[in-house]
């Protein structure tokens, strides 16, 4: 990643135009050619520096349900519980965290009812209480990770 890549990453976190030739417009701002910008973006995606490039959709606005849930997974059963939780296709992410509530996962479903059904099934199969923490409100953020 060189300075030009860094400028591309920083610029493209601020948005991307909706117009006939948007790469050309951004390339001109950056003093690059359209082909160079596209090639560098492709390389940044290929090597994993960028995880995505495109529209970021808001799941709830699309009618889906997302919730964050946690389990106090005892160390001696941690891996078995992780295997059960991960076996659900509704579980999109799962992280071990350094807390008594040691397993934190995101459940993505099309409806709230399906989210609750998934939680019930995880509780049944693991024998653990699932602490469900659906968001009540989201506050606006303006994070930009400076490359």
């Amino acid at each position: 990643m060189d300075d030009i890549d860094k400028r591309i990453i920083n610029t493209l976190q601020d948005g991307f135009p909706i117009c006939d030739a948007p790469y050309r417009q951004v390339a001109e701002q950056l003093g690059l050619t359209e082909n160079d910008l596209i090639a560098r973006l492709q390389a940044l995606l290929n090597n994993g520096t960028l995880t995505r490039f495109g529209p970021l959709y808001n799941a709830e606005q699309m009618g889906g349900a997302l919730t964050l849930a946690a389990i106090k997974a005892p160390a001696e059963h941690f891996d078995e519980i992780a295997d059960i939780v991960n076996s659900f296709p509704e579980v999109a992410h799962n992280y071990a965290r350094n807390h008594e509530l040691s397993m934190w996962f995101v459940i993505a479903t099309e409806t709230q009812e399906q989210a609750q059904q998934t939680i019930d099934a995880i509780e049944h199969q693991t024998g653990q209480t699932v602490y469900n923490m659906p968001k009540k409100k989201e506050y606006f953020v303006n994070l930009k990770l400076e490359a």
């Binding site: 006939d20 948007p22 529209p55």
Partner: protein
């Protein structure tokens, strides 16, 4: 409300925009629409916040942000919206949510993800939040991820978002 054409556009673009000089034209051709219609609908979805933004999502780790803390705070319900807005405005906070408490063991109702290139940087960010909150902070904790147990994209056809706690 979304209609079927919007949903087709979402399906066609949720993995990303084509890296071709006329990406909206390319999406339009794939769906049998005009480029103008695709652009108008994307603009409308952006206006109504169905699209948060169009742009690049960097991998935190690859940019050197290896210290990602989930900070959690106990804030009185009457003032949580005001406080949540202030915390969300901090430049290093990537997600900021009001979530339910689970008393007595989980008194925290405000979650803010912070990201830094060193432990020291994250510690200083947490201190900045503490300074901002003052005596409105009734208790806090910070949880670090020690292992990724699962990480997938969301299923096609279901909800899709890149904005999740990491």
């Amino acid at each position: 409300m979304l209609d079927d054409i919007d949903r087709k556009i979402i399906q066609a673009t949720q993995a990303g925009l084509p890296l071709t000089p006329q990406p909206y034209q390319a999406v339009a051709e794939q769906l049998g629409l005009s480029a103008d219609e695709v652009m108008q609908r994307l603009s409308a979805m952006q206006q109504s916040a169905i699209i948060r933004r169009i742009g690049a999502v960097p991998n935190h780790y690859k940019l050197g942000y290896r210290y990602n803390g989930m900070t959690v705070w106990n804030i009185a319900d009457e003032i949580i919206d005001e406080i949540g807005q202030q915390v969300g405005q901090l430049e290093f906070v990537s997600h900021c949510y009001h979530r339910p408490r689970h008393l007595p063991e989980w008194p925290y109702n405000l979650f803010a993800m912070v990201h830094g290139k060193s432990q020291q940087e994250v510690d200083s960010q947490i201190q900045q939040i503490k300074d901002l909150l003052g005596d409105k902070n009734l208790g806090s904790d910070v949880l670090y991820s020690t292992r990724i147990l699962k990480k997938t994209g969301f299923r096609s056809g279901g909800p899709s978002t890149a904005q999740n706690d990491s």
